[in-house]
Assembly symmetry: C2
Homo-oligomer: 257 residues x 2
DNA sequence: AAGTGGTCTAGACCACTAT
DNA sequence: TAGTGGTCTAGACCACTTT
């Protein structure tokens, strides 16, 4: 039997301000989320039914439904047809980590610099050929870059690019801007999608030297494999960043307070 | 000037099946997402207006709006009031990584085992006191566990728990089930929310021994700080897992094909 | 049978942008 | 001024669960 909290506490909660710039559905979603965060509604508790919420807050069913959908999407509640809507308990597995910090690093071009360390033609070995879906021995472009923030080395980037004389990817890809819009999502792009994966590594002597890091030191390795609009791989590479300067943080459950 | 693709290609695309178990809004969202994935709609392109979509697919404005909202939430398109809706380019910073793999590990109790290595009372030093918001010298419970999958060590877990004689957290927290529902989100919970952060580390000799790992080896360290319903910290600890057995993967942009 | 969430309609009004 | 997205209404019908 799910605990059904007295409606007193919810009734005392704020009502919807129709003059606010904030839409009614967002206000309602926030009111309910606050109730969860404040402990008025606890995991397992049943929320008021949609018709009840319509009456209490003076909005139409569609508006209530939209607020509910938001809370479901955010993982705050679960809706079960025919039973009701219930507050979800905290689930650590529901946590999501974002690369926004990494994105922010590159949002300010004035503080970002790219040092080109090396570009050369490399014939694909078995490993490269498999990743880029080309034949062994085919030519690829190998690029090594050092990405600096305010003059401090932040990331060491290596990648193998498909070599296609008909398509001069090289010039645009080698520029700073190419990397910037890869993170920020602005400007032109020749990439349709990409697979990313993160693993933990120990810096090699070369990597530590470039990143001016003491040894031994742990680091994040962000591997990427990008595809063009024909679903052909065009870039395979890694960003390597010091773990002591890059952290992924997130929160599960409602905010405190 | 945004490219406005000929409507031919979109018109040829499948229509909405009203007898399907899949809701109309979801079908429409999928049709449009497929158009992006197939390259019919490319980054920067403008989508048909909402009224156009209403006519073309024979649905009401609210249904179109809901489909659009889904695509906006998924980061596939951006909607600009008064201008139109446009396909977003790939942004690596938009990537999100989930702990679902970790969650799945604990979803099957039959294959999961917890070996309790140590429990003892520890008086808080400055570091512990600050994290748990208690006074230095106050008692805490220190627990070390080894989490195994099919008999193979998967995670090494250490945590400091608030010691409160009035609340017997200890028993329930020490059980296997306590960890399980922490991941799966089922059952009772005394936790309201938690802060998580991931960093890369190098296994210590002790850690490597427990995880039966060669040395040196890089690992992920998942730090957690959980709060109760009074917003007081009650648990601070770390899950340490071998990087070669745990990877975080994700995708940016629409699917291939 | 009553109550719940899930979907959908056919409009309405507003704010904003481009021409 | 015309077109766009953003919000919202006041219902309707359906599938499902509980009593």
């Amino acid at each position: 039997m799910a605990r059904r909290p007295t409606n007193r506490a919810l009734e005392r909660s704020s009502s919807i301000d129709r003059d606010s710039f904030e839409p009614a559905y967002a206000q309602l979603a926030n009111i309910l989320r606050q109730s969860v965060a404040a402990g008025v509604l606890r995991p397992g508790d049943q929320l008021p039914s949609e018709s009840q919420l319509c009456q209490r807050y003076g909005v139409s069913p569609m508006t209530v439904r939209r607020a509910m959908n938001i809370l479901v999407d955010q993982g705050v509640v679960t809706a079960e047809q025919g039973r009701g809507t219930f507050v979800k308990p905290v689930a650590m597995g529901a946590a999501t980590f974002q690369l926004t910090e990494l994105q922010n690093l590159f949002s300010d071009p004035a503080h970002t610099a790219v040092r080109l360390l090396e570009t050369r033609i490399v014939t694909a070995d078995e490993r490269i050929a498999r990743k880029l879906a080309i034949a062994i021995g085919q030519r690829t472009i190998y690029i090594r870059r050092l990405l600096c923030m305010d003059g401090v080395p932040a990331f060491y980037h290596r990648e193998y690019l498909i070599y296609d004389p008909k398509r001069p990817i090289v010039e645009s890809e080698m520029e700073v801007t190419a990397l910037q819009h890869l993170f920020s999502g602005s400007g032109e792009t020749i990439l349709k999608c990409g697979d990313l994966s993160i693993e933990a590594t120990i810096l090699t002597a070369e990597e530590a030297g470039l990143l001016q890091a003491p040894q031994p030191l742990a680091a994040f390795c962000l591997e990427h494999l990008f595809y063009d609009f024909d679903d052909k791989p065009i870039s395979w590479g890694w960003f390597i960043g010091r773990s002591d300067r890059l952290r992924f943080t997130t929160r599960v459950g409602p905010a405190r307070g």
